[in-house]
């Protein structure tokens, strides 16, 4: 009898006390907002948090909210390792990573720990599940993009060139040799150049911090390239394009995706006209992209102090990775395996032609191949705006070679 009022009181406390936090799914995020890649890293980081808010507003992981734990690591690898250990102690089920520095440093660890690591380092080296099964990204990889961009230039520009059929087109690469990001697709694009019958000229070493690339442009002039691959990031690429324009290089420009965004035409102005690049998703606020209104709505809602004109395609790239991970977590959870291995096997590797609605390739991950697609949209800058040139499907065009290109 005595127990009854006590139980009633306890029940009253439980009923009236503020609801405790529902079971949360912890996801870590490593970002660069202060270091060498902060020009694009900040926009990406904002996009990560905005996308997670969108996921939570739409049910989280089958009713469980995602708790995002986000840190800047300043592109310092020891800092990335320290924060990764914190994520583990916080029982994170997956990590949203950033660039080549953290991704490569953590690749052996995440493989051993079976921790899905969804980053914005789209190196082809990370696409072979035999070597790096837990490194994932919702984008076509640098090597596939490079092959597709060079092919698009060959299809659309070279075939209209007065020298077409009379001589080999000439091709050269401009990038920072010591940068793992910039050098990642060089072997692949030169292989593609050989396949398409290009004459390949000498590489030019241009720093990621370059504000002047005159000596490299002058060196290129001796070779007279028809097209130049730019493997650096936006500011360095814009400096090279401006010098190429000023010095009358006369070549077309094709650019890796971290070198072409909404800032390139602003920085390089006329010198950027006609430049081509593969993209892995739509540009920020691009029309006709199903989920883009939400991307913009969440950017305005959660970061009202950041001017809209400063927002970039990097936001959309962040959304792509978050939404892919979200889908994988939901699938894993439904299969009763919301853990690292489950997210990979019951989540990512069950996706077939999964459309994120953000203008990128439809995602397919298999047990033997983590390249999401061979179909790559290639854009060009025309009158300061981005225009789709073509979708180059290198998997369909070279089906006999596609498997051999895995992992490099």
């Amino acid at each position: 009898m005595k127990a009854a009022p006590l139980a009633l009181a306890m029940a009253l406390i439980l009923f009236l006390a503020p609801a405790s936090t529902a079971q949360e799914v912890v996801v870590g995020s490593l970002n660069d907002m202060t270091g060498a890649t902060s020009d694009v890293g900040k926009d990406y980081a904002l996009g990560i948090a905005e996308a997670v808010n969108y996921c939570n507003d739409n049910g989280g992981v089958n009713g469980k909210p995602i708790k995002l734990v986000q840190f800047d690591y300043g592109y310092r690898v020891p800092e990335a390792l320290t924060k990764y250990k914190l994520f583990q102690r916080m029982k994170a089920v997956a990590v949203l990573g950033w660039g080549t520095g953290d991704t490569e440093a953590l690749a052996p660890t995440v493989t051993q720990d079976k921790m899905p690591y969804v980053s914005a380092s789209y190196s082809g080296h990370l696409t072979d599940p035999k070597k790096t099964p837990y490194n994932l990204f919702a984008a076509t990889d640098y090597s596939t993009n490079a092959r597709a961009t060079l092919t698009a230039w060959h299809d659309t520009r070279w075939k209209k060139h007065p020298d077409y059929g009379k001589r080999k087109p000439r091709f050269a690469c401009s990038y920072m040799f010591a940068s793992p990001y910039a050098s990642a697709p060089i072997k692949a694009i030169k292989d593609q150049a050989t396949l398409l019958g290009f004459e390949i000229g000498p590489d030019q070493d241009v720093s990621l911090f370059a504000v002047d690339a005159k000596s490299q442009v002058l060196a290129l002039k001796d070779f007279k390239p028809d097209v130049v691959w730019h493997g650096n990031t936006t500011m360095s690429v814009s400096a090279t394009l401006r010098d190429a324009y000023a010095l009358g290089l006369g070549a077309d420009h094709i650019i890796n995706l971290w070198g072409l965004d909404e800032n390139l035409p602003r920085l390089a102005e006329k010198a950027a006209e006609g430049a081509m690049a593969a993209t892995v998703c739509a540009f920020y606020n691009e029309a006709g992209v199903p989920l883009m209104p939400k991307v913009v709505e969440y950017a305005k809602k959660f970061n009202p102090g950041v001017p809209q004109e400063k927002r970039l395609i990097r936001t959309v790239q962040a959304w792509s990775n978050v939404l892919a991970l979200w889908e994988a977590m939901k699938r894993a959870d439904k299969a009763g395996a919301l853990n690292g291995e489950g997210i990979l096997k019951k989540g990512f590797e069950t996706m077939r032609e999964f459309d994120l609605g953000l203008g990128g390739a439809k995602l397919t991950y298999t047990e033997t191949d983590h390249r999401v697609s061979g179909a790559v949209p290639v854009y060009e800058i025309k009158d300061g705006k981005f225009r789709l040139v073509q979708v180059t499907d290198i998997k369909s065009r070279w089906p006999d070679k596609w498997n051999g290109w895995l992992g490099w």
Binding site: L12, A17, A36, S38, K42, V69, G74, N303, V306
Partner: protein, 200 residues
């Protein structure tokens, strides 16, 4: 006697339960009643000061023996203290807050707090947010983000960094909080507040 003490126990527990509930029945947040809290920078502090020094990656460290050289320098550690005022009658939760730190007009870091903090109705709470800047990170950020502006100014990034690191205790150059946003929640309603400030 037993019956009386049991009744007392029930009353005490019921009162405790009401207190624990934050008297939730008094007023609830709705889209119309939830007023946005305010976020104001109270001050910036140099929380710990190490002066200015930098060793590039050609200098062998003293310890450990045979240690890997790196681009290592003195951290510049700021703390930003914000006054967060809740004008509502009900408590609100600060979910997260972030902002960009700029020295002399150059964005150098984006920092924030992800710790959940409750602000009682009608009260002002203070939140302290640390920001650690490294000379090499600042150099890279200046090179990539501010390279063209520096070129126009005819300035060398190291010149600026050395000035900032040595003059930081005097606050003789503007320290800015830019593009700030704070996310508040109450009863399932979310409000986001933008803020910016310059100190001093």
């Amino acid at each position: 006697m037993r019956s009386l003490s049991t009744r007392r126990l029930v009353i005490v527990l019921a009162v405790a339960a009401l207190a624990a509930s934050g008297c939730a029945g008094v007023q609830k947040a709705t889209e119309t009643t939830f007023q946005a809290p305010s976020v104001a920078l109270n001050r910036a502090e140099v929380a710990s000061y190490f002066g200015f020094w930098f060793y590039n990656n050609k200098v062998q460290p003293s310890l450990p023996e045979g240690g890997k050289p790196g681009n290592n320098g003195a951290p510049l550690i700021y703390h930003f203290v914000f006054d967060i005022a809740n004008p509502n009658a009900f408590p609100v939760r600060l979910d997260n807050l972030k902002f960009t730190v700029a020295l002399d007009g150059f964005d150098l870091n984006t920092v924030g707090s992800q710790d959940e903090i409750w602000i009682p109705g009608g009260k002002t709470s203070q939140l302290r947010v640390p920001c650690v800047l490294g000379p090499f990170e600042a150099f890279m950020s200046l090179g990539v983000v501010g390279g063209m502006r520096l070129q126009k100014m005819g300035k060398n990034p190291w010149e600026l960094i050395q000035t900032w690191w040595t003059k930081a205790p005097d606050f003789s150059f503007p320290v800015e909080v830019r593009e700030g946003s704070a996310v508040f929640k109450a009863d399932g309603i979310t409000k986001v507040v933008a803020f910016q400030a310059k100190y001093p």
